[in-house]
Symmetry: C2
């Protein structure tokens, strides 16, 4: 079933990339965009990111078959509730939030009994950059996009959402929302916290030292430049799983520190080897 009208709400880096990618691949007949700030709406209209720009979310979803809510995680459920009465029957709503348990549950509840369907998604295509203007049509190519049906998710809607993201070039991985949150706590949220903590600590020493750093420092800390407010909302929704992952990392670091403390070089080497083997397996 081809998408006649695709509506994108609150485009940032991801939403901007959805618009460009959908257009480049002819994924929708028509693209309508709503952005919260007036100046963003104007800039988006001027750049012709979509075919039309709407003044309100309610107006933007009029007649839409498919809606992508690209807002920060704490704004997704409120927006879903806001547009619920204005969706046409059979409309499908997805999102791009980095945490899925709460959003999937509340998103479904917001549309239940209204003839429209919510299916959560999370394309693993972030960046330390934010803003629709950084979006590009190839952002999802070859990247994982999680699709996270709940127990009550409509099967046809699930298929449509998976098809939408694979149509934008992503490798769709379907998992339940709780498994998703546990996985990303480890492979996305933990690296973020570690990079942030490393930078926060280094800022307490001579900050001029950073200018001497090589590619290692640069790469290891790149994501620490991300927006603190977006990450706060992500950590808020995935607190329990992130705390578990942090506890595991802490134990690993303590083991390393202890081996170094007691000059146990075989144990130090073993830690480094385990890390190296894991990383060499990352393609």
């Amino acid at each position: 079933m081809p998408i006649e009208q695709l509506t994108i709400l609150a485009p940032g880096l991801i939403g901007g990339s959805v618009a460009r990618s959908a257009r480049a691949r002819g994924a929708a007949g028509r693209i309508v965009i709503w952005a919260r700030r007036l100046e963003t709406r104007r800039a988006v209209a001027e750049a012709k990111l979509g075919d039309a720009t709407a003044e309100t979310p309610e107006e933007a979803v009029q007649g839409a078959d498919f809606v992508v809510i690209a807002a920060p995680v704490d704004a997704i459920v409120p927006l879903t509730r806001q547009i619920a009465p204005h969706l046409k029957p059979g409309a499908i709503v997805t999102d791009v939030g980095s945490v899925k348990a709460e959003i999937t549950r509340e998103g479904h509840a917001a549309l239940a009994g209204k003839g429209a369907h919510f299916v959560g998604a999370h394309p693993m295509a972030g960046s330390e950059k934010t803003g629709w203007e950084y979006g590009n049509s190839g952002l999802f190519t070859g990247r994982t996009c999680f699709v996270t049906p709940g127990k009550q998710t409509d099967k046809k809607a699930l298929k449509a959402v998976a098809g939408f993201w694979s149509g934008l070039g992503a490798n769709v991985v379907t998992v339940d929302p709780e498994a998703h949150d546990r996985i990303v706590a480890h492979i996305s949220h933990l690296p973020q916290v570690v990079a942030s903590a490393l930078c926060a600590f280094l800022s307490t020493r001579d900050p001029g030292w950073r200018d001497f750093g090589g590619a290692g420092l640069r790469d290891t800390t790149r994501i620490a430049a991300s927006d603190p407010y977006l990450w706060r909302t992500i950590l808020e929704q995935n607190r329990t799983e992130v705390l578990k992952a942090l506890g595991g990392l802490r134990a690993e670091l303590e083991g390393f520190e202890s081996a170094l403390q007691r000059c146990d070089w075989p144990a130090v080497t073993k830690h480094l080897e385990r890390g190296s083997i894991y990383r060499r397996g990352l393609h």
Copy 2:
């Protein structure tokens, strides 16, 4: 004073890059190379990495004005002692080791009274790759190269070593060996330990998860793929400073974990902000 003969001992990624860069920039009249393994000597000779390949370190330094010891940190002082009796008067020896206090002290002692000079150096241009074949002539361009004179270092030799590295395109930073070791414990060795620990921990969970990772996981962990044995020798020589840095990072991580535990969102945001500000200042 132009270099007539440059000798490079034990080329890996860095030594291979010194050879290519020196040739590309005409930094020496003639380049002689010695590698420990016979097959490396043959491959290096076949690839014409230098103008000549020697069978032994002693032979390689015959007639050399300038010697770069590109061996792993635990082999630098032994090699310096080995070549000491064979250096011509006024010959200058430098190295590329990632730790400098012990090497600078022992390197100086090995050549003292022999009419030759040791001046430690450390180009910040590593990679998770090892091997001379990955070397390239632009590796040092715009990168920091620490030069670390001790109290007794000959001033003319220091000038020659600083001139050599800036001649290869590096930004030379002159600091005492102890300050160097404290700086790199923070901006190089700590990121390595953190990336390794992150990967070592993730390897204890479902390793298949890594295939879902985005650019964040990839960049944050890249250097974990580095050679564990090279890093063991670096950590061995810089153990005290790395332990201090690790203690500081641990306190930072514990502060973050505690803020997350007690849902202190302003404190969580503050940690992320401090990291973000530091990283945005890294150019």
